[in-house]
Amino acid sequence: MKKILAKALTSENIEKIEKMISFLKENKKIVLALLVVSIFVDIFFVKTSSDIVIFSILFLYGIFIKIFQIKGRRTFLLCLALLVAMFINFLFTGPSIPTEKAAVWLVLFMALGIFQQWRESAR
């Protein structure tokens, strides 16, 4: 594993990664907005539920937490938005597929937020 990492992390690659990170940092708002929009598109417009989509987005968000130093509070703000999405769906369609998808996103982001806050409070 170490060998593979050592191979991958050549100075050239590190430079590329750093460039990418700085690019992401420069476009932080757009990147985060895209991520949030993709979650809401998934809730409102995609009828099927895919773990690949869910965990990819969560993984990306996890990376962004690291890169952008996102606080737990931000995550709970997103939770609030997800809760609103769940409520709107519940109000009009009852416990339908979009409602349940919003609920699952909410639960997952709550878990992430709690994890973040725990780490923040430990520091």
């Binding site: 773990d51 609030l80 809760l83 519940f90 416990p95 609920a103 639960v107 709690i114 409070s121």
Partner: protein, 1274 residues
């Protein structure tokens, strides 16, 4: 702030008092699964249900319910003070409710105060408010109020969970052992919640909440764990609970025991566990749980308001700075996962994997089992989050929020607080209330039944389905729940059909046929002495049209008058009438088999003993017979049997036509790739690879093959209009012989590859390959016929689907449609021809006798009833034998046969003439029948004409009426549960007709006309139709219908005028009367055994787990029968000092037994419930004497078998299909003729031992508790 406790005390007091207004004096919420009769009569309930390791239901057997002892004693004590059971129920409800609230309030308060660094007046007030709201939420949440109707014994968890959590929290924070001792005392009192019946509640709540407490103490409060105290607590817990845990653990670790099977068997883990879970999981919604609503319940118009709670959580987390709340949040999410399961597909997969853990199947109703722990953490996080929110928002906003929450909680809890939720109406009844005041006359019945002198079982009528009893109360309400005769009178009783277990079907069959001889035989063998009958019309009839009589009402009389007639015909004697409606009857001594008897005859019966009357009908005089059905016993010890009876097994393959495969069938496949897609060849390839993976043709392979076969049909049906047609193929079979699938590189063949014809070739080849495989397979659990029948049903479905697709394809010309329809019809004709599903020869029923057939002479019997009105010839190994004109009761005796060195006999019954059931009826038009099909307008054109040579021409003018028109023919003497062969030749002149068989049946309350079989008929020349039909088990009559079916090509035949079908040789034959009662043939071996004497048996019941049996004059070997469900834990002891156990365990238990016996003897201690009257009852000319039954729980003789080895364990075997029997030879009892035996259930012995441990533990706990006070004073 010294008055801050006042609101909480007021609410607690209010919650305690509220239940006292729920029921008027005398009324009780009894019934439901746990009966709740322990509130009504705790002491009798204790004696009947908890003191002994025995079940009083039906056949008896081991029943471990010791866990209830402390709680029932506690209730008995309370009832002594409160007198009224209504007050007792109100007290317990009030106690549960108020403690639940108060504990939650204190927990939240504790958690909030622990976090607070600066305690200002404002923070104290907010904390109080938050704790109060959390406590209120816990008791008024929709999921919380759900359980109060007919609470179960283990539903005490509603207050036990928060109470124990609170005390443990206090213990961990203060390290004061007294909290721990109080917890242990509570667990002892409410032991049911810590026993096997409380396992789901226990394992859902305690592991998680204890983990929470540990993490909270270590990482939030940062205090060390009092490990020493915890170890002491765990040891004390096991000591206190030894009295119910030890017998239960022993049962759990005994292979083959019900508990062991429940936990470790694959069936329990996956079939009833995971299978049940999978059925429920799609209906469970995470959003509903997040809102705190009930799963699977209809939403109300204000359900959306519950969003306020998750909003508070999220806002609380958003503004939170406390670790304790984060910890609660983690546990809230964990419990949310367990209560919903539907958190991502990976989460669901993980949940499903958990079912492989032994015992996890207890969580199959997961949303109910995890609900309480979820509610608990929901409450905690609500309290904590609310504090954060209130501290953050403005004062007026806070006040508004608090007022809103309080008002909302009061509104949602109002129906519950005023007791409306508990005003329960019995399910499927005509508004019969479940809040019942007990009928004093019924109390007399219970008292009378308790005092009955004979230790026989009771049959209760009207019989129900699940063993639930219905008794009208003193008010306009009824008790519906587990029988009071079982639970309060402690009598073994058959109240429901299910309690007859394997004998249930034959009992109901005999009842339906009003075969009173068979009914009495079944009652005799099941040791039923009394019949209790409640003639109250309130409990049987209009008020209870459904439950609990749904199934049995098809067999038993449907009115109380009918029941009276039924009982009268049973020939039983009425011995008591109470309140003009409760009757008790007694079966006479001559036709009663006592609970314990020495069998006069020992017989071997080669079939399963599910119909006890059949073997017993050979013994019309003395019914003291012990029937063994294990062939190994006959092989090893043929000398013990007086009679050897072989029932010939019906080997007719006709039964295979009706076997339903148990495998869960696939859902019809969805098709995504068009035939023209470049990916399609890969799909076909993948299917081939998929099938090639199977090493053998087993049921999974067959299922998979049919799945792929059906895909071809679905493809054609979905893209019917887009798929090209060659248009020049004579038949699919012809094309199949010359067609070769193109290779991947043969692109020029792609167009051919996609065609209709080639897809049909692919379909036909796959089906034919499967048919070949079915012919050869030995790996399937089903016969070739069963597999072929299922395949044929699929093929018919496929044919209809294809015809419909072609018919509805608007893009095709009539020519193309006709071309395709001809191809499809031809293909299915060829496939069905290859399937070769011929009916068996219905005139000859083959049988076989295959058992350890010894050499010798055999008497041959055929049951008279089964071949009534039939002209039969019986042949054995091809030779006909004739009947003898002897009167042998229910049996016709044939010539004896000599068997020499034959492993089996081939037997056949040839039915010389089977009556044609339509020979005396004629075709009629639908309106002539004025039938049940429908009320239709006048139909003119239906006619029939006999054209000679047996051909009937049926003409139908109006085809648009579909199944409402056509011609109908009655079938006479149609019976339930019988097999029929329907056959005829037909010619439809290339038109579609629909042939349908309708059955009528049901009960008076629920009549039906049901389409049992239908098939489309279409032919250009004479064709034969033959079908084999199994009638429904409640069918009473039937008729055939021929109607015009939709033409495949619309409008084509409308111009041709009248629709015509010719029919000839119509016959409907009943092949067997039923699947079970096919003509019974029995071979009875002529055994020249030495005549044996039957010893005298005198037996006395000490308690339900112990019998004393005195034997006199046992010169010969005999079988001692105990008519209780067989259990290896019933042991036989010969208390003479010779059989003392030579082990250390034996020495210890003998010594302890002697010590306790001498203590009890010295102090003359006897703990006993009422004994029966001191009457001796004798049967069979004093050959069996029964008497002076007692219910001694503890006296100086209780320990007399401790340290003794049981005798005859190897000859302890099941007889009569359920009972215990010991085969006793003189040498087994030291060649004595007169001796005394003790029959004892050993679980009870283990209980006595473990009870001593628990009592010791209780004393120790008491001592430590007192000591903790003394230490503090010092």
């Amino acid at each position: 702030m010294k008055y801050r406790f006042i609101p909480s005390f007021i609410i607690t007091l209010f919650l305690f008092l509220a239940p006292f207004f729920w029921f008027k004096e005398g009324k009780m919420d009894l019934g439901g699964d746990s009966s709740r009769l322990y509130f009504y009569d705790p002491l009798h309930y204790l004696a009947s249900q908890a003191l002994y390791a025995i079940s009083h239901s039906g056949l008896g057997g081991e029943g471990l319910s010791y866990f209830g002892i402390p709680f029932f004693l506690f209730l008995a004590g309370l009832k002594n003070i409160l007198i009224s059971p209504t007050l007792l129920i109100a007290f317990v409800h009030g106690f549960s409710l108020s403690i639940a609230f108060f504990s939650c309030y204190l927990i939240v308060k504790q958690l909030l105060f622990q976090d607070e660094e600066k305690k200002t007046t404002r923070t104290i007030v907010i904390t109080e408010i938050c704790a109060l709201i959390a406590g209120l939420y816990y008791v008024s949440a929709p999921v919380s109020t759900l359980i109060w109707s007919h609470m179960l014994l283990t539903d005490n968890q509603i207050f036990l969970n928060p109470l124990i959590f609170l005390l443990l929290l206090r213990y961990l924070l203060t390290q004061n052992m007294r909290y721990l001792f109080v917890v242990l005392g509570i667990t002892f009192l409410f032991a049911a919640n810590f026993s096997i019946v409380g396992a789901p509640a226990f394992f859902a709540f305690y592991p998680l909440s204890l983990l929470f407490l540990v993490l909270y103490t270590m990482f939030v409060v940062r205090k060390p764990l009092p490990l020493k105290g915890i170890v002491v607590g765990v040891i004390l817990f096991f000591l206190l609970h030894a009295f119910h845990l030890a017998p239960q653990i022993e049962s759990l670790l005994t292979p083959g025991s019900p508990t062991n099977n429940l936990v470790f068997s694959q069936g329990a883990k996956l079939d009833s566990g995971l299978g049940y879970f999978n059925a429920l999981v799609p209906g469970i919604k995470p959003s509903i749980s997040l809102l705190g609503l009930q799963q699977m319940a209809p939403l109300t118009f204000f359900s959306f308001v519950f969003i306020i709670f998750p909003v508070v959580f999220v806002l609380g987390l958003l503004w939170n700075s406390r670790k304790s709340m984060l910890l609660t949040g983690i546990f809230f999410l964990i419990t949310l996962f367990f209560v919903t399961a539907n958190i991502t597909a990976i989460g669901l997969k993980f949940y499903m994997l958990l079912f492989h853990i032994p015992g996890f199947s207890m969580f199959r109703v997961f949303f109910g089992q995890w609900m309480w722990v979820f509610l608990f953490f929901y409450t905690l996080i609500l309290g904590q989050a609310l504090l954060v929110v209130l501290a953050r928002i403005k004062k007026w906003q806070g006040i508004s929020l608090v007022l809103f929450l309080i008002v909302f909680l009061i509104i949602i809890a109002l129906p519950f607080i005023i007791g409306k939720t508990l005003q329960y109406i019995h399910w499927q009844t005509k508004d019969v209330s479940a809040i019942v005041a007990m009928d004093p006359k019924y109390e007399e019945v219970l008292s009378y039944l308790r005092s009955l002198p004979i230790d026989g079982k009771i049959l209760s009528l009207p019989l129900t389905d699940p063993g639930y009893q219905v008794v009208k109360g003193d008010n306009d309400a009824a008790y519906e729940g587990p029988s009071m005769i079982t639970y309060l009178a402690g009598r073994n009783e058959f109240m429901g059909f299910v309690e007859f277990e394997s004998f249930g079907t034959s009992f109901l069959k005999a009842v339906k046929a009003r075969d009173y001889v068979a009914i009495r035989d079944i009652l005799v063998m099941l040791n039923i002495r009394y019949i209790y009958y409640n003639e109250d019309p309130y409990i049987y009839g209009d008020n209870f049209p459904g439950q609990p009589y749904i199934h049995v009402s098809n067999f038993l009389p449907d009115t109380q008058a009918g029941y009276k007639e039924f009982i009268k015909n049973l020939g039983v004697k009425e011995i008591k009438t109470i309140g003009d409606k409760y009757h008790i009857y007694e079966i006479d001594d001559a036709s009663y088999l006592p609970h314990i008897y020495a069998a006069g005859k020992i017989a071997y019966w080669s079939d399963y003993l599910v119909n006890l009357h059949t073997p017993l009908s050979f013994y019309t005089q003395d019914k003291r017979v012990a029937f063994y059905d294990d062939s190994k016993i006959l092989e090893r010890h043929p000398e013990i049997f007086n009679d050897v009876l072989f029932k010939a097994q019906n080997k007719s393959s006709i039964f295979d036509f009706f076997k339903v495969k148990k495998l869960p069938r696939f859902v019809s496949p969805t098709v995504k790739q068009k035939l023209s897609s470049v990916l399609y060849p890969f799909i076909v390839l993948r299917e081939k690879i998929d099938l090639a993976r199977f090493k053998a043709v087993n049921d999974r392979y067959i299922d998979r093959s049919v799945y792929f076969i059906e895909k071809r049909i679905n493809e054609l049906a979905k893209w019917a209009g887009e798929i090209p047609i060659f248009g020049n193929v004579k038949s699919i079979t012809y094309l199949s012989n010359i067609w070769l699938e193109p290779k991947l590189w043969e692109l020029h063949k792609y167009k051919e590859y996609n065609s209709w014809e080639v897809t049909l070739v692919r379909y036909q080849q796959s089906v034919e390959k499967l048919i070949d495989a079915l012919e050869k397979t030995k790996q399937s659990n089903y016969s070739t016929i069963t597999n072929k029948v299922e395949l044929k049903n699929d093929l018919i479905k496929h044919q209809n689907k294809l015809r419909q697709a072609i018919r509805e394809d608007s893009a095709k010309s009539i020519y193309d449609k006709k071309y395709l329809l001809d191809l499809v019809d031809g293909m299915f004709a060829d496939i069905l021809d290859k399937l070769n599903l011929d009916l068996p020869d219905d005139w000859i029923i083959p049988y076989e006798v295959r058992n350890p057939l010894g050499n010798g002479i055999y008497q041959v019997y055929v049951n008279k009833d089964d071949i009534k009105n039939l002209d039969i010839t019986l042949s054995i190994d091809g030779k006909s034998i004739s009947s003898r004109p002897l009167d042998t009761g229910e049996w016709i005796r044939f010539d004896d046969i000599l068997v020499k060195n034959k492993p089996f006999l081939r037997v056949a019954i040839k039915i010389n003439k089977i009556p044609n059931l339509v020979s005396e009826t004629k075709w009629k038009t639908a309106e002539e029948r004025k039938g049940e099909l429908l009320t239709q307008a006048k139909v003119e054109g239906a006619k029939q004409k006999d054209t000679g040579e047996g051909v009937t021409t049926l003409t139908i003018s109006y085809s648009y009426l579909g199944n409402t028109s056509g011609l109908i023919r009655d079938i006479s003497k149609w019976r339930e549960d019988s097999i029929y062969v329907i056959s005829f030749d037909y010619l439809t002149y290339d038109q579609n007709f629909l042939f349908t068989l309708y059955e009528r049946g049901g009960t008076k309350k629920n009549r039906y006309v049901n389409n049992t079989h239908s098939e489309i008929l279409r032919s250009k020349e004479w064709k034969e139709f033959s079908g084999v039909i199994l009638s429904r088990n409640d069918a009473q009559s039937a008729f055939l219908q021929i109607s015009k079916d939709q033409d495949d090509i619309q409008g084509q035949n409308y111009t041709e005028g009248i629709k015509k079908i010719d029919i000839r040789n119509l016959s409907v034959l009943r092949i067997t009367d039923s699947q079970i009662a096919d003509p019974r043939i029995v071979f009875k071996k002529v055994v020249k055994a030495k005549e044996r004497s039957t010893p005298q048996v005198i037996f006395t019941k000490i308690n339900p787990t112990k019998y004393k049996v005195t034997i006199h004059g046992a010169k010969d070997p005999y079988a001692l029968v105990l008519s209780e469900r067989f259990n290896p834990k019933w042991k036989l002891f010969l208390p003479n000092g010779v059989n003392e156990a030579k082990t250390l365990k034996g020495l210890i238990s003998r010594t302890l037994g002697e010590i306790f016996s001498s203590i009890l003897h010295a102090n003359n201690i006897v703990i006993s419930s009422e004994a029966s009257k001191e009457i001796l009852t004798s049967y069979f000319n004093d050959n069996v004497i029964e008497g002076m039954h007692k219910n001694i729980f503890l006296d100086r003789n209780t320990f007399e078998t401790f340290g003794q080895d049981p005798i005859l364990e190897k000859t302890h075997l099941p007889v009569n299909g359920y009972a215990n029997a010991w085969y006793i030879s003189p040498e087994d009892v030291q060649n004595k003729e007169d001796y005394t035996l003790i029959i004892e259930m050993t679980s009870q012995k283990l209980f006595y031992g473990s009870l001593l441990i628990s009592l010791g533990g209780l004393l120790l706990l008491f001592f430590l508790f007192l000591k903790s006070f003394i230490q503090i004073r010092k």
